[in-house]
């Protein structure tokens, strides 16, 4: 590749090769975006993590390129989103074309007042590199390259691994194992796990090209374009003037033939014009599947990312949902490892994230059916929708070129305390926190104040001595909860309490807040309870519920 030089990370000889296998609270298998995010989150929580990867570099080829707003918000919490945003290409507008004409365009973030954009495009190798660099700043992470897991033995109290290195094999034990070793999960195979779902037979060509062009930073999707009849095509801008192009090839395409430059170049010239000057950086031909493991927890092994679930690429729901997996898992694992929550809290990792995976698979399967219609009737309806969409607004909502990744609302989670008073639906328990502009000591966005631990957000409370006393007590609980007071006139700092001022009406509108309204956020920034007034006992009960003290 011309625009990027793959880093080679140094192999380190295992120091624990001889003698009794060392034990780790958590071992992560796989140093991709999901495994690295898990390790960083756990290390920031004070848990020592061993990360094992069989390779010694980052992703070859751009692979995942669309990083969602929610992913950036999670990485903000982990202190590494800014580099991605600086390097990446922001976008929120998508355009859809049918044959030669634009059918319509959409904006994925139509409302103002959010810190992060709807999406940035950035090659996966940059994301992995930035995460490796973030991980290496944290003393709790031991990241070992060219350490391949050869055997896994699940035991009642631990998982025993045998690891192969250029210097031979060694054994190591994990109290908990996070399996993030990708789509062809070797650990999943060693444990005999099978995933269930659909295989799609259409082949796609993916090509990264280097090209200086004034095409806008938008997602352009063509159905049946003149330059690639009866198939679809997708164009995305990435960093370094690299462009991602996807061509649907159909079922009968020969993957080896299609990868050859002499086959790719005419396709690209037909799309970009004879005068376009470009170089191919990387190309691949793929098919895809939509499937998941039946359960993401198998005893002390917890599966995340592609090792747990696979979706089609339309919708950017692969890597983004994997990062949401570990966002969900890390705080639960911290509480279980430290003995503050029962193991069954980890069953809610399974129930919450399999529900999210089903949502992603459902969207992804529907998009695939629209993009690659099976049979004449499907194709006729698809074309009818596209013809109508050019003229009539109603049909635009039926056009499905990929429903782009949004975080799951964990509506049916047993960790939620249901509303007992009327509220607008938007921020119902289970919802990920929605950002809004604020002012305060730690940043100008609401999300700067939420996360790591539990957070109670109280709107315009009367800051009585009793209230501040209760909040100090919450902050001193074994599972601590810090409070953030919105727009309260106070007498200065108080233990466990921070103050923010809304920068506009957006905050109270988005949260349907009145004076006294209180929201309780989990450490992953999802709402788990809300009330029209603060009550210490109810807050403690909601925290107990959200930490699996009484899951039913």
């Amino acid at each position: 590749m011309k625009t990027y030089t793959q880093p080679v990370y140094p192999y380190t000889k295992p120091t624990d090769a001889a003698g009794t296998p060392r034990s780790w609270p958590v071992i992560v298998v796989g140093a991709g975006p999901v495994g690295l995010t898990a390790a960083i989150d756990l290390a920031l929580r004070g848990i020592d993590v061993l990360v094992l990867d069989e390779d010694d570099t980052v992703s070859v080829g751009s692979r995942a390129i669309c990083w969602s707003k929610r992913t950036l918000e999670i990485l903000d919490r982990l202190g590494c989103a800014e580099r991605l945003v600086q390097k990446g290409v922001r976008w929120s507008v998508g355009r859809v074309f049918f044959r030669g004409e634009e059918v319509y365009q959409f904006d994925l973030l139509p409302e103002p007042g959010h810190h992060r954009p709807a999406f940035i495009n950035l090659q996966q190798y940059y994301v992995e590199q930035f995460l490796v660099e973030r991980a290496s700043e944290l003393p709790g992470i031991d990241l070992r390259w060219r350490h391949r897991v050869m055997g896994v033995t699940p035991l009642a109290d631990r998982v025993a691994l045998s690891v192969s290195t250029p210097d031979g094999e060694y054994g190591v034990n994990a109290d908990w194992l996070i399996v993030a070793d990708g789509a062809k999960s070797a650990i999943g195979a060693m444990l005999g796990l099978q995933s269930e779902g659909h295989v799609f037979h259409d082949r796609f060509l993916i090509a990264d090209i280097h090209m200086t062009s004034d095409f806008p930073a938008e997602r352009w999707f063509w159905f049946d374009p003149p330059f690639h009849r009866n198939q679809s095509a997708l164009l995305h801008r990435q960093a370094d003037d690299v462009w991602r192009i996807d061509f649907q090839l159909g079922r009968d395409a020969d993957p080896e033939e299609e990868k050859k430059p002499e086959k790719i170049l005419p396709r690209l010239r037909a799309m970009l014009g004879e005068d376009a000057r470009f170089e191919i950086e990387w190309a691949s031909v793929y098919t895809f599947q939509c499937r998941r493991l039946r359960s993401f927890r198998r005893g002390r092994a917890l599966f995340a990312g592609d090792a747990a679930h696979l979706v089609s690429p339309f919708g950017a729901r692969g890597a983004n949902s994997g990062i949401q997996d570990v966002d969900n898992l890390a705080w639960k694992l911290e509480l279980v490892v430290s003995g503050q929550a029962p193991e069954r809290l980890l069953d809610t990792y399974d129930s919450e994230r399999t529900a999210a995976a089903d949502e992603n698979i459902c969207h992804s399967t529907r998009s695939t059916d629209f993009i690659t219609p099976k049979g004449n009737v499907s194709r006729t309806f698809r074309d009818a929708v596209l013809l109508l969409a050019k003229r009539y607004a109603f049909a635009r909502q039926l056009v499905n070129s990929g429903r782009l990744s949004l975080p799951s609302t964990l509506a049916s989670s047993p960790l939620n305390t249901p509303d007992r008073t009327p509220f607008a639906a938007r921020m119902a328990p289970g919802s990920p926190a929605v950002d809004a502009p604020v002012t305060g000591g730690e940043g100008n966005w609401l999300l700067d104040y939420l996360g790591q631990g539990f957070t109670l957000l109280v709107f315009e409370p009367v800051p009585t001595t009793e209230l501040l006393h209760d909040m100090a007590a919450l902050a001193a609980d074994p599972i601590a909860c810090e409070s953030v007071l919105v727009g309260a006139a106070g007498d200065g700092p108080s233990p466990g309490v921070r103050a923010i001022t809304p920068a506009s009406a957006m905050l109270s509108e988005r949260y349907d807040a009145r004076p006294g309204t209180a929201y309780l956020f989990r450490p992953d920034q999802h709402v788990c309870a809300r009330w029209r007034g603060f009550d210490l006992t109810q807050t403690r009960a909601a925290i107990a519920r959200a930490t699996g003290q009484y899951v039913h």
Binding site: N376, D383, A384, A395
Partner: protein, 64 residues
């Protein structure tokens, strides 16, 4: 609820216009026009219970 009682003021006129809509079209074009018509009418109805009743009624007496 799906209205299956007579509701067209001039049924013969409508039927003639429906057939005329397809004049000079190939089978493929007719299928496309029918699909567009279904989508236009479905959006006009909007009510998903009515639409489901219509989907079910359309499949009556048609076995795969």
């Amino acid at each position: 609820m799906l209205n299956t009682e007579p509701n067209l003021a001039a049924p013969d006129d409508f039927y003639q216009e429906l057939i005329a809509l397809h004049r000079d079209l190939t089978e493929e074009q007719s299928a496309l026009v029918n699909a567009k018509l279904i989508l236009l009418l479905a959006n006009h109805i909007g009510d998903v219970d009515v639409l489901r009743a219509a989907l079910a009624a359309a499949r009556e007496d048609v076995a795969p």
